[in-house]
Amino acid sequence: MQSDIKRLSLILLFAPFALWILLLIILPHLGMVVLSLREKVAPRVYEFGFGNYIDFINEPIYWNTLLRTGSMSILVTILALLIGFPIAYYIAKIAGRRSRGALFLLCLIPLWVSDLIRAFGWILLLRETGVFSSFLQWSGMVSEPIEFLYNDVTVVMGLVYTVILFMIVPLVSTLDGMDDAMIEAGYNLGGNGYTVLRRIIVPYAMPGIVSGCIVVFMMTAGSYLTPILLGGKNSSWFTEQIYDQFITRFNWESGAAFGFLLLAFTSFVVWLGLKLSGQTLANTVAKS
C-alpha cells in the first residue's frame, strides 16, 4: 500500500518532465532527423538519402561559417568567464551580506529587457551618428564620425553582454558555498594570492565554471538576433544559414540537416572541452 502510493507520487511528479522531454524535445527532433534525410528530386517528390549532409561537406561556405560561429562562441565563453569570475567572487565572498542581494539584482536587471531591445540599445550607442561617436567628436578627441557598429568586435561584445549573467549566477552559487576558512588556511600555509586562487578557489568553483561555460557556449552558438543586428557585411552566423535555408530558400530538408550539424558540433565542442580540462559532467555540473 505504502509503496504503491510512493510509486504513484513518483510517476505523477515525473510525468510533466517526461512529457515535456518526449513531446517537445524528442519527437520534434525525430521529425527533424527524418526531414534532414529527405532529398528533393522534383516538386513534391522526395527520396531518402544523405544528400543534405553531403552538400554541407562539399560547400566550404557552410562549414567555414560553422567553424567561425564555433570559434567566436568559444572566445565569448572565455571572455565571459574572465569578466564574470571576479564579479561573482566579489558578490559571493567580498561584498557584505546586505549589499550582496542588491548587487545580484543589478546583474539581473538587464534580463528584464528583451534581447531585441538591448541590441537596439547598442545600435543607438555605437552607430556612426550615435552617442559614442557624437561624444568623441564633441570632446574633440576625433574630428570625423566613427562607425563602431557592423564588425566582429561589436558582435563579440554584444554577445558577452547578453550571456555574462548566465556565467555569473552558477559561479556565485558555487562560490557562496565555499567556507572562508579554506582560503584562510591556504594563506596560513604560506600560499600567495595566485596559489590560493589556482589550488583552492578555482578547483572549488569548478562545477560552477563548467556549467556556466556550457550554458554560455550553447546560448552563444545558438543565438540569432545579436549577431544579425550588430554584425556587418562579412559576419555570417550559422543560425542565419539555418534561417535562410528554412525561410528564404524553402529548403527545409537542408535546414533540418544544418540544425543537426549545429547540435552535433556544439555537443562535440563541449565534450572536447571537458576532456581537455579533465572534467566530467558527473563531478561538476551534477554537483553545482
Binding site: 516538386p43 528564404t248 530558400r249 524553402f250
Partner: protein, 357 residues
C-alpha cells in the same frame, strides 16, 4: 454573497462570449505590415458586425513557410506577391482556386488583373487577384548624390562607404540589368541563369567594400538614410516615399534600366475556413474611399483603375516627384520564379555574404 455575484457575472460573461462565437466568423489575414490599418479593420467590422478580423503581419517568404507548415491551414486570406504563387502552389499545394465571380474585378486595372491572372493560372484555375503594386529601385539624397541614376552607381567609388542594399534577390536582378542582361529572360535556361548569377556575384563581391552595411528592414534603412550615414541605397519605393515626407531631398530613383515592379495579391490558403469573409474583405478594400486609406498606410498604389489618383496627397506628390511616364512604361515586372531558382539565388547570396574583401 459577493462571491456568488462574481460567479454569476463570470457565467454571464462566458455565455456572452460563447454566444458571440456561435454566430461570428473570424477572418484570419496573413499579410504585410501596414496592409491592414486599424482604421480599415474597425470600419470593416462595423460594416460586418459578425466578422472578427485577426491580422498576422509577415513577408513573402514567411507567408509561404507558414502555409507550407500547415498545408495551407490557419489563415483565410494571404497576400503574397504575384511571383510567389505559381511555384509555391506547384511545390507545396498551399492555395485554392479563386471564384472571380465573387470579386468586383471590374474596378481593377486591366493590365494588372490580366498580368496576375496570367502569372497565377494553373490548369485553368486562377489562384490570385491583384491588390497593390509598387516597385523596388533606388533612393538617393539629392543634396549629396545628385547624379545617382542606376543600380551600378551603388558601387561607384564616389560614394564609398555611403551606400547600402539589402542582400536579397532584388539586388541580384537589378545588378544583372545594370550589366546589360535580362535575368527574367534567362529563367528559361537555368544553366545560362547560373552563369549570369556568377557574373553578378563577382560584381557584388567587388562592390562590397563600397557598401556601408546591408540593411535588413525598412527601419534600419530609414535610420541610415535620415542620419546621412548613407546617401543612396537600394530600396522599396514605399520606404522612400515615407522618407520624402521627412526630408524632401530624399527621393525614389527609378533605375535607368527600369524599376522592378511587384504586385501584392489576394490568395486563398487551401484550408482556409472563411472564404466568404475573405471575398467580403477583398471587395471592401477595393471601394474607392478605402483604397485611399489603404494606400496611405502602405505607401503602395492600389491596382484599381485610377489608383494613382486615389493616393493621399502627400504620397501622390512623392510618386510624381519620382516617376515620369517614361519610367512607368519602363517598369520590369518580376517574372514567376521557376522551381530551383530560389536555391540558386540563395547560394549566390550566401557566397556574396561570406566573401571577404
Amino acid at each position: 454573497m459577493l462571491s456568488t455575484k462574481k460567479g454569476a457575472g463570470l457565467i454571464a460573461a462566458l455565455m456572452l462570449t460563447s454566444a458571440s462565437y456561435a454566430n461570428a466568423e473570424t477572418l484570419r489575414l496573413l499579410t504585410w505590415g501596414s496592409y491592414a490599418p486599424e482604421e480599415l479593420v474597425q470600419k470593416f467590422q462595423e460594416k460586418y458586425p459578425d466578422i472578427t478580423v485577426e491580422v498576422t503581419f509577415s513577408n513573402n517568404e514567411e507567408m509561404i513557410a507558414k502555409l507550407r507548415a500547415t498545408g495551407g491551414a490557419g489563415f483565410d486570406l494571404a497576400q503574397p506577391s504575384h511571383d510567389r504563387i505559381y511555384s509555391a502552389q506547384l511545390e507545396y499545394d498551399i492555395y485554392k482556386p479563386m471564384d472571380l465571380s465573387k470579386i468586383n474585378t471590374s474596378v481593377m486595372e486591366d493590365s494588372h488583373l490580366n498580368g496576375v491572372k496570367a502569372n497565377t493560372t494553373i490548369d485553368g484555375e486562377v489562384y490570385a487577384v491583384p491588390h497593390q503594386w509598387g516597385t523596388s529601385g533606388l533612393m538617393a539624397n539629392k543634396a549629396a548624390a545628385p547624379d545617382f541614376k542606376g543600380w551600378g552607381d551603388l558601387c561607384d567609388p564616389k560614394y564609398a562607404g555611403k551606400t547600402s542594399m539589402r542582400l536579397k534577390r532584388t539586388i541580384l536582378l537589378g545588378t544583372a540589368y545594370s550589366m546589360g542582361e535580362d535575368p527574367f529572360a534567362a529563367y528559361s535556361d537555368l544553366d545560362k541563369y547560373q552563369a549570369l548569377l556568377d557574373k553578378v556575384a563577382d560584381k557584388l563581391i567587388e562592390c562590397k567594400s563600397n557598401i556601408k552595411a546591408y540593411w535588413k528592414g525598412g527601419d534600419d534603412l530609414s535610420a541610415m538614410m535620415l542620419s546621412g550615414e548613407v546617401v543612396a541605397s537600394e530600396t522599396w519605393d514605399s520606404t522612400a516615399y515615407k522618407l520624402y515626407g521627412q526630408n524632401k531631398d530624399i527621393v525614389f530613383v527609378p533605375p535607368e534600366t527600369g524599376a522592378l515592379a511587384w504586385i501584392d495579391t489576394f490568395a486563398l490558403p487551401r484550408k482556409g475556413k472563411a472564404d466568404d469573409a475573405a471575398y467580403k474583405w477583398i471587395n471592401f478594400v477595393l471601394e474607392p474611399e478605402n483604397v485611399t486609406i489603404m494606400s496611405g498606410s502602405t505607401g503602395a498604389i492600389a491596382a484599381v483603375k485610377g489608383g494613382l489618383d486615389m493616393l493621399p496627397a502627400d504620397k501622390k506628390e512623392a510618386v510624381t516627384a519620382a516617376f515620369t511616364d517614361a519610367d512607368i512604361a519602363n517598369l520590369k515586372f518580376f517574372a514567376n520564379i521557376p522551381p530551383g531558382v530560389e536555391d540558386m539565388e540563395g547560394k549566390t547570396l550566401e557566397k556574396i555574404k561570406a566573401a571577404t574583401e
